[in-house]
């Protein structure tokens, strides 16, 4: 802890000059981070990415937009005549803004739990497979068949054919970390 304090102090003692330098460094670092994530999907090494992978990139950078919000973001960075590709030079500034403004923050665990509870009309602590499938594929921003299958493979308790959502969430949270 002592070490921790010492380092914190050390970092803080920078003075005004240091602060703006720090801010700049912070921005640079952010840009590098975004660029790296972008490049993972840049298959032709020409600073473009297939528009269908943008969602993955944005989400892996820590944001949790809905599909609708995602579409808006894409619209912002698309070309005038959509080419199917997004260029880094457009993506970068947009993403920097998104991250600095801390938009589309991930959902806290308890809120997620509440969401499940809302769907669990019978308040039994679990959802049946049919219920979950119905909600996920018919409500909100529906899942594709693939997405549904994938979720079920991890969420479904095969013996009871139900989704014990408390356990499921707990497991997922551990996975994330």
């Amino acid at each position: 802890i002592l070490l921790l304090h010492w380092i914190l102090v050390f970092n803080a003692v920078d003075g005004n000059n240091g602060e703006s330098l720090q801010a700049k460094a912070g921005l640079l670092e952010l840009q590098k981070k975004i660029k790296e994530a972008f490049e993972v999907f840049d298959h032709e090494a020409n600073d473009t990415v297939d528009v269908r992978e943008i969602g993955t990139i944005i989400r892996s950078l820590g944001c949790c937009p809905s599909e609708g919000e995602l579409h808006d973001l894409i619209a912002e960075v698309e070309e005038e005549e959509p080419t199917g590709y997004i260029r880094l030079e457009k993506f970068l500034p947009m993403m920097v803004k998104v991250l600095s403004e801390r938009r589309y923050r991930p959902i806290p665990e308890d809120l997620l739990l509440q969401a499940f509870e809302v769907l669990d009309s019978a308040k039994e602590g679990f959802l049946t497979k049919e219920e979950l499938v119905k909600y996920m594929t018919e409500e909100g921003e529906p899942f594709t068949e693939e997405e549904m299958e994938e979720m079920l493979s991890a969420a479904l308790d095969p013996e009871t054919n139900t989704i014990q959502y408390r356990d499921y969430l707990a497991m997922m949270v551990i996975d994330e970390n």
Binding site: L4, V40, H43, S60, S66, L112, F116, E139, E150, S153
Partner: protein, 720 residues
């Protein structure tokens, strides 16, 4: 419904993160592959260095050189019968494996498949028999096989198998066994890396002999004994056939060089293993004598007949190759840069005449005295193996192909497509080229072809179209890097020549795992490989970190860490994205780098006697070391002498500017010479530093797991 959206949002993010991890894992594999190529280039440099600077001063050193520059030679027909005398090999009564008799019937071939499914091993006698017959058959095939869809309704084309028997079995299960109604083309790279290369070969050759009109094979860059030395097939054969392994290896050379170079379907679809170049000339390819190219790694020029025997040289240029199927898109490290260069790096100057003269003379001396080192040691009363430089006006066996022809074949077997226009030397593999869409267009038009099918590169989905769907890469070895790393695929063509792709992934366990678990597994494997690489560069990393640690606090920022990593390793990896997986303990976004490096080291085996810096060097050069060992061990006995080992190290380390004293090498060697007989068992040596892939040990485990599959198919891809 807000709740639903919330859950969906969250879930999609979760999946996205998994996807990112998956892609990163793939990137790691790719980049390690790529950096591995540099190894091979280094090896080549080493050999060139030898040629340039090295005057052999001792018998040992001359032997070493002679191994490198010795001519390969194909057996003359007269020798064939005696050498490949399979009939004299007895099959013992207790043998429970499959029996094979000629003429081969479809049932025999099917029986082979069944037997291999049950983990039986084919007896050496039958192996040699099949190889013998295969060679006889292949000799009368043209360089380019012209086949037609009117024979059988559909033709199935499969890509690299790389010794993965499970995949072959799956293909036959899902698509059906070969038959007069079901044609197959296997596009090279049947062997190396996987554990069942010989079994795959036996099955493929058996079906080829049974259904000659319907079953076709193309040569791949791995159908090459020099490549096999490096990538595991040689090892596999010697391990499974301790008594007759050498014979089998020699026969394999004979068979591989007779494999056709390409297949043409309906004069419209060209199937080659690697790719093409802007110089690809199908007429030339049809005419050349393909069997003269024993290995695409060494170019052997025709000796000039005019000069006296003494003066003529054999010019063997080593071709620096990383042959392993490389995943798509070379990294941002842009091997595309640079202009087209000759793919034959070694050229000879008059200075080398002296070296060669000496080498030749000493080797001849050696040969006359004793022949233990040579494969032909059994034939003491036969003519000793000689360089073709001897006055043998009728040594037509040795005259290789001319340089242009050789290059044509290398291009076919080694090239990769690239998205950019043009045609550049393939610096990643060391030979062949990168060919662009315009080159494809040019060649297709020149010969009125519709599209190309090739393999050679591992694709995550098992296949990939490029160049405006004019080039299809098909790769049939699923889980190539690791369980769950990629799918395999094959393509079916009917008379309409529209490709239908079928994908699969052969492994029981992946079926039951969730996506996260599957990805984690592959990821862990990639990270392990990466960490080993990091360890191999510990000292450089420490130096780099220190340069960022200006206040001597032993801490650096994570940003500095990322920059330092790239500056040392040059792997082009997304370090910031990977950071959470590699660095787990940070304090306020700072890393205590010394203990991090220590943790890395602890993971690797430590041999107490050996200085860690030596260990590092070994790790960095392991694959080259192993290859050199195997070349030295010309009789494949698995042993090299103490002296040979010291020699290798001396030469290698001086070239690599490695600061290791002679003493430490000797100490190390001695500590490994367990039985103190002056010989080092190669495997033991590599094992001592855990450099040997735990292959044959882990083999037992994986064999127990059986192999069910899960697959999906997607069809109806139109061609344009």
């Amino acid at each position: 419904f807000k709740a639903a959206v919330l859950i969906q949002r969250w879930y999609r993010r979760y999946i996205a993160r998994l996807e990112m991890r998956r892609r990163c894992t793939w990137t790691i594999f790719q980049s390690i592959e790529y950096s591995g190529h540099q190894d091979q280039v280094k090896l080549h440099d080493f050999f060139s260095y030898l040629v340039d600077h090295f005057t052999p001063s001792s018998q040992n050193e001359r032997n070493f050189l002679s191994c490198m520059f010795a001519e390969e030679r194909l057996l003359k027909d007269s020798e064939m019968e005696t050498y490949c005398d399979y009939e004299s090999i007895e099959v013992p009564d207790y043998y429970t494996g499959p029996h094979v008799s000629f003429p081969l019937l479809p049932d025999h071939a099917t029986a082979l498949v069944e037997a291999f499914k049950q983990k039986k091993q084919l007896h050496a006698r039958y192996v040699l028999n099949i190889l013998h017959e295969a060679r006889k058959y292949l000799i009368q095939l043209p360089n380019i096989n012209h086949i037609s869809t009117c024979y059988s309704e559909e033709i199935t084309v499969c890509g690299d198998l790389h010794g993965q028997l499970d995949d072959l079995i799956f293909i036959f299960y899902k698509n059906g066994l070969p038959s007069p109604e079901r044609s197959y083309v296997f596009n090279g790279d049947f062997v190396d890396r996987g554990k069942h290369s010989i079994e795959i070969l036996m099955i493929l050759f058996a079906f080829m002999l049974v259904y000659p009109k319907e079953f076709h094979l193309n040569r791949g860059n791995h159908e090459d004994h020099l490549v096999n030395l490096r990538y595991g097939f040689t090892k596999e054969v010697m391990h499974k056939y301790k008594v007759n392994g050498k014979k089998i290896l020699k026969m394999l050379q004979e068979v591989f060089c007779w494999l056709p170079l390409a297949t043409l379907i309906d004069e419209k679809v060209l199937i080659i293993h690697g790719g093409i170049s802007d110089k690809t000339d199908l007429e030339l390819l049809e005419k050349l004598e393909r069997h003269k190219i024993i290995s695409t790694m060494k170019y052997t020029k025709k000796p000039e007949k005019k000069k006296a025997a003494e003066e003529s040289r054999s010019i063997s240029a080593w071709f620096p190759l990383k042959s392993r199927s490389v995943p798509s898109s070379p990294l941002r490290l842009s091997p595309h840069k640079g202009s087209r260069s000759a793919s034959i790096p070694c050229t000879f100057t008059p200075d080398r005449k002296e070296i060669f003269k000496k080498v030749r003379q000493s080797v001849q001396l050696e040969l006359k005295e004793g022949q233990q080192q040579m494969d032909f040691s059994e034939f003491k009363d036969k003519e000793p193996l000689r360089f073709p430089l001897e006055s043998e006006p009728n040594s037509c066996d040795f005259q290789g192909v001319n340089q242009e022809e050789w290059k044509q074949v290398v291009d076919i077997l080694w090239s990769d497509p690239m998205p950019q226009e043009g045609c550049k030397a393939n610096t990643v593999r060391g030979g062949g080229c990168f060919f662009g869409p315009n080159v494809t267009e040019q060649v297709l038009q020149k010969y009125s072809l519709q599209f190309l099918i090739r393999s050679h590169e591992c694709k995550q989905e098992g296949y990939e179209f490029c160049h405006n769907r004019k080039v299809l890469t098909i790769f049939s070895a699923s889980n190539y890097y690791e369980v769950g790393s990629n799918r395999g695929a094959y393509v079916k063509l009917g008379p309409d020549l529209i490709p239908h792709i079928v994908q699969y992934q052969a492994n029981k366990t992946t079926h039951t795992l969730t996506m996260r678990q599957r990805i984690s597994r592959v990821e862990e494997s990639a990270l392990k490989a990466l960490r080993e690489k990091l360890f191999a560069h510990s000292s450089s990393l420490l130096a780099a970190f220190k340069s960022y640690d200006l206040d001597g606090s032993n801490f650096i920022t994570l940003n500095d860490w990322s920059v330092a990593m790239e500056s040392v390793l040059h792997l082009g990896l997304p370090w910031r994205v990977l950071r959470p997986q590699l660095v787990t303990h940070t304090i306020n976004n700072m890393l205590e780098y010394k203990s991090w490096l220590n943790d890395l080291a602890k993971e690797q085996v430590s041999h107490e006697n050996i200085q860690s810096s030596l260990l590092e060097v070994l790790y960095r050069n392991r694959s080259n070391l192993e290859t050199i060992f195997r070349i030295i061990d010309s009789d494949h006995s698995g042993l090299i002498s103490f002296d040979e080992f010291r020699q290798i190290w001396k030469l290698f380390s001086s070239h690599m500017n490695v600061d290791i004293t002679d003493e430490s090498i000797c100490d190390m060697a001695r500590s490994i010479d367990f039985n103190k007989d002056g010989n080092i068992d190669i495997n033991e040596f590599l094992e001592a530093f855990r450099l040997v892939e735990q292959s044959y040990l882990e083999d037992k485990d994986s064999e127990l797991k059986g192999s069910e599959t899960n697959e999906s198919s997607c069809s109806g891809q139109g061609v344009h």
